[in-house]
């Protein structure tokens, strides 16, 4: 049965788009059929991170408004044949999305894919509420710092009240994905502890993605990090997270420092 998963956070710039692309690609690599849907209307970026920016013709809003049919707007990934993108509009604004129209498109996607990953815009306004509206599951992307955790808490409250599932008295399955985790700062006690974050949010952990240059390199070339350098630390962490989404038991790896003792002592960042 198809699963609709929203990647959300409240706070901006925490890694939602990066995570949508990486998890989508990892799920597709393990044989699932996947569509990643960009809900960040007016500020689309998922097309760039996926390397499909030059192939966008129609978008989510065109489909919602009936200007284009769904198959015309779907873009197939060049590397994985079972990975697709439904881009957002760059010119229109989010008011062009209606609850009913989004529901119809999601319904249509459910009949075509195993996984529908919705990349939410930041904030708690209409765009974010529409992105989570039809979700069965949610990945709450959280950075280990106070404002991100606070916003995640707010988003969890919305997932429990504003989604179709919540209104029916059903549960949206929620997972916390900690991203941009810096082991050196963690060791110095400068960064919120993972256990503390999980306790505060009272939500299970999907994975811990380390802060890494590999993420930037992958987005530079328009390839999800899991495809760009499968051996890199963030790629492995995303692959593990995707396996947990599929219900596998995978031991949690807390990213560790790979730096010399002197560097650590002097607090130098990894080159």
């Amino acid at each position: 049965m198809a699963k609709v998963l929203v990647v959300t956070s409240g706070k901006g710039g925490v890694g939602k788009t990066t995570s949508t692309a990486a998890l989508g690609a990892a799920l597709a690599q393990s044989g699932q059929s996947v569509v990643v849907v960009d809900f960040d209307v007016g500020l689309r970026n998922l097309d760039l991170v996926m390397g499909a920016e030059r192939r966008v013709v129609f978008d989510l809003i065109n489909v919602v408004q009936g200007v284009a049919k769904l198959p015309q707007a779907l873009i197939r990934d060049k590397r994985l044949e079972n990975l697709w993108l439904l881009p957002a509009s760059q010119t229109r604004d989010k008011d062009a999305l209606t609850d009913e129209g989004v529901g119809r498109v999601i319904g249509e996607l459910r009949s075509r894919f195993d996984w529908i990953l919705c990349d939410s815009p930041a904030g708690i306004e209409r765009g974010a509420t529409l992105a989570m509206r039809y979700a069965d599951e949610a990945v709450i992307v959280t950075n280990p710092e106070v404002s991100s955790v606070r916003d995640s808490d707010r988003i969890i409250g919305m997932l429990d009240s504003k989604t179709v599932r919540a209104e029916r008295g059903e549960r949206v399955e929620k997972h916390v994905l900690i991203t941009r985790y810096d082991p050196a700062r963690a060791a110095r006690g400068e960064m919120l502890n993972i256990d503390d974050i999980l306790e505060i949010l009272a939500t299970p952990l999907l994975g811990i993605i380390p802060e890494s240059q590999d993420v930037l390199k992958a987005s530079n070339v328009g390839t999800p990090v899991t495809l760009n350098d499968a051996d890199s630390a963030p790629a492995r962490a995303y692959v593990d997270a995707s396996r947990r989404l599929m219900g596998e038991q995978v031991a949690m790896v807390v990213p560790a420092e790979r730096r010399g003792f002197m560097n650590r002592l002097l607090g130098r960042r990894a080159a």
Binding site: R150, R188, G189, L192, N193, A202, L265
Partner: protein
């Protein structure tokens, strides 16, 4: 020796425990505030309506709180009932006051 040195540095600069404390306090407040929206407002109104059929109540003395826990959440309903149950009298008094 090296580990002790590290821990010493860590201990002195550790700001994470402060962050945790601040978050815990902040969120317990925010959850209370947010809990007032939508569902809780509706619940509160409906509970008030049901109980008011039988007992005269001061609407301000009906508290509905939701506390989110790890596995379950608790809905706390706190209604202050006056010892004097005379409904018509209480309503008349309220009308005069209002």
């Amino acid at each position: 020796m090296s580990m002790r040195l590290l821990r010493l540095f860590g201990g002195r600069n550790a700001t994470a425990p402060v962050a945790r404390e601040r978050l815990q306090i902040l969120l317990s407040h925010e959850r209370g505030l947010l809990g007032q929206s939508d569902l809780l407002v509706t619940l509160r109104e409906e509970i008030l309506a049901v109980v008011s059929k039988h007992v005269a109540l001061d609407p301000d003395k009906v508290l509905v709180k939701l506390e989110r826990g790890k596995t379950v959440s608790t809905l706390e309903v706190d209604i202050e009932v006056p010892n004097n149950f005379d409904k018509s009298k209480a309503i008349a008094e309220r009308r005069m006051a209002g």
